[in-house]
Every structure is written in C-alpha cells, then in structure tokens.
Amino acid sequence: MSLVFPFTAIVGQDEMKRALLLCAVDPRIGGVLVLGDRGTGKSTAVRALAALLPPMSAVVGCPYGCDPKTSNPCEQCRAQRAAGNTPLKSAKVPVPVVDLPLGATEDRVVGALDLERALTKGEKAFEPGLLGRANRGFLYIDEVNLLEDHLVDVLLDVAASGENVVEREGISVRHPARFVLIGSGNPEEGELRPQLLDRFGLSVEVRTPTELKSRVEVVRRRDAFERDPAGFVEQWRKTDAKVRRQIDAGRNQLESVQVPDSALEQGARLCIALGTDGLRGELTLLRTARALAAFEGASQVTDSHLQRIAVSALRHRLRRNPLDESGSDIRVERAMSEVFA
C-alpha cells in the first residue's frame, strides 16, 4: 500500500480541514464541497482523511459494512439476525473512503448484475457498486463539475435518502448507502449547477497561500514526503493520532452537547438576515456548530462555535443579489456582525 500524505502535515487550509473533520464527527452535516485554486491540496486532504479516521466496527462478510448494532441493517444482515445468529460477528475495519473516478459508468456506481456470474453460471446476482462500498464512509468526487448529469442526479438522490434502490433485469435490491459526499472542483473549469450547490452541507473555498513563508513550507513538506514517505509519515504520526482521538471523543460526546435556545435563535436570525431558502441552512448551521463543540470538548454550543462555521455552512446558499457587489463570504460576515453584535 502506498503511503498517503499525513492530514496534519497539510499547510494552512484550516477551513477545509475543519469542514472535513466535522463531517467525520457528524456525518449528518451532509458533505463538503471544496472549491478552489489549482494545487491547493484538495485531493490530498481527502485521501489523508481516509488514513486519519478511526476504524469502525462492521459485520464480517457484509458487503455494505453494516454496523452490528444498527437498527437499519442491510437485507443480508437482517436475514442473519432473523436466523438468530446474534450477535453478528464483527471486526474493526477502516472507514471506507471511496473515489468516484471520472468516466465511471452508472452500473458500477449504483451496482448491477454480477457480470462474472451471469457469464460463467448464467445466474442473476447483485454486485454492489461504489455507493454500496461507500456506506458508512465517504464518497469523494474530484472535479465534481465534470461528472455527468445523470450520475449527479443518482448521487444526490441516494445521498439524501441514505438508501440505494436498484431495479434491474428482474432483480430488485435496496441497500443502505449512507455516506458523506465530498466534492471538489475548480469553478474556473465550469460552473456548478445551483441544485448541486446547496445539497452539500458545507462549502469551503481554498486558495493558494500567498504568504511566502507558507508557500515555502508547502513545497518543503511535499519534497520531504516524496524523498522519504515512510519517515515523513512517521514524523507526523503523533499529531495525526491526536486528531484521530479528538474525532473519536467528539463522536462520543456529540449527543450530549446542549444546543441552548439562544443558539437556535441566533442561527435563525442569521439565516433570516441572509435570506437563505428553506430550513436546510439553519439545520446545517446548528449541526455543524454542535459537531464543532463536540470536537472541541465543549458541553454546549456557543456563539463562538456558530461564528466559526457560519461562512462554511451558508456561503453557498445565498441568492445572488444584483445590487450587492460583494462576495458571499463578505455578506455572511456582515450579517454575522449584525446578528452577533
């Protein structure tokens, strides 16, 4: 296995790193859209995240990696349970981070008949696709703006429902497909469809560092990694492990974090001030703030948590205002300074 660049060794890009970590703490935040300049480590960060995540416990032999304790298992696990094989045998496995390569065809994404078995034995059997493999993990699409529309539709549908339904060739399969969708892209290479934008929980913008010092550091670390990957990974092992423990602690604490009424109100006020459509913005705002509080070991959500994640949670939900020339970041900041005054 080739070594990946350690997550904590990524220079700067704090907003992107935080968004990814918070989705790891609470997958219900609804994914991250990473937009930005070339060569800013978008893909590197996602691949690094895969190596950073604490392992999860999964039913042995389950194609979807079901949680042995889940209330919503796949058909196979359900049958096992019904047969009284409880508790199901489970093992610690790495959290899946599945790459959706460009050029993937629909049958491999949603799953289709097993070609091998159809050819050799003439049997109908379902072979899970990438969505099945990504269950309980992350699904990463680099250059999301280049993905074909019909695939985007499927992905969004499944990501929202948490379930993949395949009707094909007389077989009918439904299986859990709960994953965090991570998309990355460069707006210069093609605009994203607006429907796609607000389906992502968070949206972060990454820019190339302008300061010489951090640019030198970026190149230096990359060079060090290339020359001695094992040594470099070892050097960052401790800091990576610390973040991993923090994710774990955050997950355990998530349910006990209090969201006071004042925070709910502030969130609502912020969304009203910005005129965001629907409730999705508010929900994401609060979930993300709670995940941040849990990640930092706080017992309740405060204004500071809201303030730090508001831009990521809201910037892609604003309507374009022809009379306001400022960018969406500035508009969110401005609304915040009014609401949190």
């Binding site: 300049d37 070339r38 060569g39 893909s43 790459d99 959706l100 390569p101 460009l102 050029g103 993937a104 065809t105 629909e106 049958d107 491999r108 994404v109 289709a112 008949l113 070609l115 091998e116 159809a118 050819l119 050799t120 003439g122 049997e123 109908k124 072979e127 696709g129 990438l130 680099d142 250059e143 280049l146 074909e148 529309d149 019909h150 094909r168 460069n186 707006p187 210069e188 290479e189 093609g190 605009e191 190339t208 560092p209 010489l212 010092k213 640019r215 030198v216 970026v218 190149v219 230096r220 990359r222 060079d223 290339e226 020359r227 022809p322 009379l323 306001d324 020339e325 400022s326 960018g327």
Partner: protein, 644 residues
C-alpha cells in the same frame, strides 16, 4: 547557427526523459511541422527503446482511454475479460496528445486524475479495476491564438512548457545529450535516492518559491515540479547535490513560461540584457564535449556569478517586500535573473491588459468556452452513449445497445427465452449530444441628452447588423437603455429581427444619465441569460459621465461612485464586457469604468454602426476563447488606451 531556443527545448527533453512521470509532462507549443517532429524524434531517442509511447486521438472514447470490458475476449472466454486502455498501456512511458488545445474538460480531468494517482481506476461496464499507469503527457498545443491553450487542469500538471514557434527547421542540431547520458542520470538519481544521498534542498526550495512569487506563479505544483527538476538536472550532471545551475535551469524551464507578471527590476539590468547573446555564443560552440558538462554549459545562466551561500536564507523574514528580494538572497537573485531571460514575450501586454489578469481569465472561461456546454437529447454533436430510454427523445445507438446486451445472453436464455439475441430495456443505449451554448449580446445604451440620440441610432444599427448574423449563429441580442431617471429593458433577449426592429423604432432618448441603474439592469439581464445556459456579453455605449445615482437623485460624484460599484459587480460576476466610449474626446471616467468592470475599452468618437458591430463580433468570439487577437484592427487603438 543554432537557435538557443532549440537548444533549450532539447535540454528540456533530456531533463524530462530522465524521469518522465516525475515531471508530469511537456506542453509543446508549435504548429505541426518539421521542428516539432524533430523534437519528438529527439525525445523518443532520449527516452530509449522500449519506452511505451501512445498517441491519444482527439475525442477518444472512455473505453479506449481508460479501458473497460473487452467484449470479444469476454464472449470467447465465457467470463468477463477486462481490456486496458491507452493510459494503462503507456505505463512507464509517455502519452502524446495532439491538438491538446481542443481537448475537452472531461478528457483533461481524466488525464489529470491518472497523472496524480499514477494508476488508472476503472469502474465501467461491470469492470472494477486498477492498473498502474505511471505516465507522462506530451501535450501538443497547436493553438493559433494566445488564449487557445490546453485545459489548465492539465497544463498545471505538466511541468515543462516549451515553445518551438519560429525556430528555423534548417539547423536542427541533435543536441549534446544521448540516450546513454539520460540512462546514466536515471541510474544516478535512483542510487542517490536509495542512499538517501540527495541532501536537503531547502535553499533551492526557498529560492524557487521566491521566484514564483516574484513572477506571479500562484499554483504550488510548478514549484514542486521545479524542485524535482533541479534534482534531475543535478543527476544529469552526475552530482548528488543540487547546485545553483540546476535551480536556475529548473526555474527557467518551469517557472519562466508561467510568469504572469514582470518581476521587480534587478539591481544590474545590463546583466539580463547581456544574457541572451552570451548564452547563444556558448551553446553554439560545437566542439563542446558531450554528456556530462554539456547541460550546464548550454544553460549557464549568464548572470554574474554570485557566491552561493547555503547557510544564509532565513525564513524568519516574512515581511520581505518583493522589491527587496535581492537583499542577501544570492540564490533567489541568480535564479530570478535566469528566469528573466525566459519570460514569455508579450508578457507586458498581457500584464497590463485587464482582461488577462487572473480574474479576467477566469471570467473569460466562465463566459463561454468551458462552462457553457449544454446537453440536449436531440441537438448538437454526438458525444458518447449512455444508458437511457429512446422513447424519451434521444436516438438509440444500435451497436452500443447490442454490445450491452451480449454478455447477458447466457443468463437470459436460462430464463426460458429462445436462442435469438435478447435485448432488454436495460440494454438500451442512446446517443448523448452536446451543444455549445450560444451567446447573448446585451447592449446597454446611454440614451441621455440630445447628443446621445445619434449614438442611439448607431446602437440600433449595430443591433440590426448583429441580428442579421445571429440567425446563422443562433445567438441572441438584448437592449437596455437608460435615460432620465431609469433604465429599462427595451428589448428582451431575442433572435427575432422583426421584433427587434419594432421595439427599437420607438426608443426615446434625452434627460439625465442614470448610469448605475443602466449597469444594474444590464447585470440582471446577464444573470438571467447565464441561468438559461447562455453566455452573456455586455456591450456598454456611454461616455461614462453619470449624473443620476442609484437613489434617482442628481449629483455627479454620488452617481459616478454608484456606477463604479455597479461595474465592479460585473467584474465580480465575471461577465464578459466591452465598453464603447461614445464621447467625442475620450474621458478618464469611461476608462476607469472599463477597468472597474474588467471590460475591453473601445473609444469610438464617430457614429459608425459597422465598426461597432465588428468590434462586438470580435468580442463575442474573444469571449468564447476563439481568437480575440485576430481582429487586430480595433485592438490597435484599444491597448494603448488601457495602459493607464
């Protein structure tokens, strides 16, 4: 006599050949012809026999590029057989892409993913595979226009950019490197790496970052590539440590061609001037011994030898202003000097043309070429097949459908059907089509004051001329007029000449100049147009002297400030725009406005609807990335005006 640029191109080939996949590739800008062929031949020789080289035809289908199901072998073997695509076949070698400037974003994205991962991941047609593909890409850029370039996703990952344009095919000397020198360097580098021998290159890294900063190279990828290239250059010299020359060479070959701004002046300007001839005289010495020392000789930066001082550079000085970059930074200085001679010609013009600055470039891309492609089931050119239902409109692709049905026959026969080929709904493959988005030209016309009336007539004339051609190109035209206190959309986007004539005929004029209101309405129309999937182009006819603000109150300072804000909004949105200064004597206000909106500026003191119409046409094709510069006539008077 040998062209130093040819020498440099050969040097790049040698550097690349030592470790192709580490440098990502080469962008070769040249028309097809003997020079390019000679370079490719030289490169092939340097790569050595046995290196896989594959050419990618334009519009290559995914099944060939990435791989997929080999249907013949599958049917023969009775089990799924995967077929490697071109990229996997080229593992350990080089992929050549002709006409790279015409490459679509999709292909570029696929190549970029493979370059990054060093493997091809395929999830297609029932096949899930991963093949090693440590490849490098040679992108043959045949674009005629400066902006006709391969997709930036790809260019960013290909370290070396060379330009063979204008090199005489008569003296194509084979160059001092041969395949054994390259092989030696390859072995040397491998052994240095195995022994962890190649020492830390902090000074080189810092120098390269400083240079990238000074010449406006933003992406970190080229800098990382330059560090790698410096190591390769050292290996080519048989050195284990990166020397000053290696860094200078790497910077010149990799950072130089990417410069987007002129570096701050050096302390000794004469050295940069003397650099070229000196270099030429050096490289033209035919008696030079080959291999080992040759690369240093032919690339020797002609800057004065300054003491290399590895212990000195300190990072603790972040406030270093660009113009003080030379203070006590010998390496960065030397390298910058070397790069200076390799700066692309015409950089000054580019740097001062606001449309080509960063935001300008992105605006241009957004306005047409890349983003605005529409898929419609029945129109446009075919672009592959997808699973689908022919009853909903698209055409059935019979061959693809049969291909899709064939592997399942055995299973289906078991279901009790006869022996004929059985095709089911799931197999249906339909032709997917893509269509270029059309352009909607939005005229925003100053109809204030009595003097503006003839300008209005002129705009009407230009609109009609454009409309006459629009029918052919399927473009649309809209007209916003502002006068008195308001701006209104006189002619909503239309393709209909009759309708346009009718609404233009009754257009009134006179009154104040609510410029900001006009720009706001124009921007709103552009936004709608873009949402419909068209590319907007805004053409403003005004003298830039607003006197009615957004609050509809008279007052020049307030009104002009409002207009500037509205103009900045256009720029932020990235609308392609052309500002026609209609005043008899050009006024700075109009130029300032053009700069603020990122528009091209065209002073047009005399009413002439045919000149206007051709300028707009030039902008339309320019905003679509196809040759703004061909229409030099109007540009000649544009550029000097913009350089303020």
């Amino acid at each position: 006599m040998i062209d130093p640029r040819w020498q440099q191109a050969l040097g790049a080939a040698a550097l690349f050949a030592v470790n192709p996949s580490r440098l990502g590739g080469v962008v070769v800008r040249a028309a097809p012809g003997p020079v390019r062929d000679a370079w490719l031949e030289a490169l092939t020789k340097l790569l050595g026999p046995g290196t896989p080289i594959r050419r990618i035809p334009p519009q290559v289908p995914d099944s060939r590029l990435l791989g997929g199901l080999d249907l013949t072998a599958t049917l023969h073997a009775g089990r799924p057989v995967a077929e490697r695509g071109l990229l996997a076949e080229a593992d350990g070698g080089v992929v050549i892409v002709p006409m790279a400037e015409r490459m679509g974003a999709g292909t570029a994205g696929r190549l970029a993913a493979v370059l990054d991962a060093g493997e091809v991941r395929v999830e297609r047609e029932g096949i899930a595979s991963c093949w090693p593909a440590r490849i490098a890409v040679i992108a043959l850029d045949e674009g005629l226009e400066t902006e006709d370039r391969p997709p930036i996703v790809l260019m960013d990952r290909l370290a070396l950019w060379i330009d063979l344009e204008g090199i005489s095919p008569r003296h194509l000397d084979p160059g001092p490197w041969d395949v054994s020198a390259v092989a030696e360097a390859r072995a040397a580098q491998a052994s240095f790496e195995a022994q962890a021998f190649d020492a830390d290159a902090s000074d080189a890294i810092e120098a390269l970052c400083r240079v990238a900063d000074a010449i406006g190279v933003d992406s970190p990828r080229p800098v990382i590539a330059a560090v790698r290239a410096a190591r390769v250059a050292a290996a080519l010299e048989g050195r284990s440590e990166v020397a000053e020359d290696d860094v200078a060479l790497a910077a010149r070959l990799i950072l130089g061609p990417r410069a987007t701004r002129i570096p701050p002046p050096a302390e000794s300007p004469q050295s940069s001037e003397s650099s070229e001839p000196q270099e030429a005289s050096q490289s033209s010495e035919p008696t030079e011994p080959p291999e080992s020392s040759a690369s240093a000789e032919s690339f020797e930066a002609a800057s004065p030898p300054s003491p290399s001082d590895p212990g000195q550079p300190d990072l603790s000085d972040p406030d270093q202003a660009p113009d003080s970059i030379d203070d006590g930074k010998p390496l960065a200085e030397v390298v910058l000097e070397a790069v200076r001679s390799a700066l692309p010609p015409g950089l000054l013009a580019q740097a001062t043309d606001p449309r080509k600055t960063r935001s300008g470039a992105s605006a241009q891309q957004r306005s047409g070429r890349v983003g605005a492609v529409r898929t419609d089931p029945r129109r446009g050119r075919p672009n592959g097949t997808v699973r689908g239902d022919p009853r909903r409109g698209p055409r059935l692709d019979l061959v693809a459908t049969l291909r899709a049905a064939v592997p399942w026959q055995r299973m289906r026969r078991r279901d009790g059907s006869p022996t004929r080929v059985e095709v089911r709904t799931d197999d249906f493959r339909v032709v997917r089509r893509v269509q270029r988005a059309t352009t909607t030209t939005i005229f925003v016309v100053d109809a204030s004051g009595s003097a503006a009336l003839n300008r209005l007539a002129e705009a009407k004339g230009a609109v009609e001329l454009l409309l006459a051609e629009c029918y052919v190109r399927r473009d649309r035209v809209a007209l916003v007029a502002f006068h008195g206190q308001n701006a209104e959309l006189v002619l909503p986007p239309t393709r209909s000449l009759v309708r346009a004539r009718r609404s233009l005929a009754g257009l009134p004029g006179g009154g104040g100049t609510p410029l900001a209101a006009g720009l706001d309405v124009g921007g709103a129309v552009a936004d709608t147009v873009r949402r419909q999937g068209d590319s907007p182009l805004l053409v403003v006819l005004t003298d830039g002297r607003a006197n009615i603000g957004r609050d509809r109150q008279p007052g020049r300072p307030r009104a002009e400030a409002d207009a500037l804000l509205a103009a900045q909004h256009w720029r932020a949105e990235g609308y392609a725009a052309l500002l026609v200064d209609t005043s008899p004597r050009s006024h700075p206000a109009a130029q300032a406005l053009a700069l603020a909106m990122g528009a091209r500026f065209l002073p047009l003191p005399y009413a002439d609807s045919s000149v206007l119409s051709s300028a707009v046409k030039a902008s339309v094709s320019g905003s679509l990335g196809a040759g703004r510069h061909r229409h030099g006539h109007t540009h000649a008077d544009v550029h000097p005006q913009v350089r303020v």
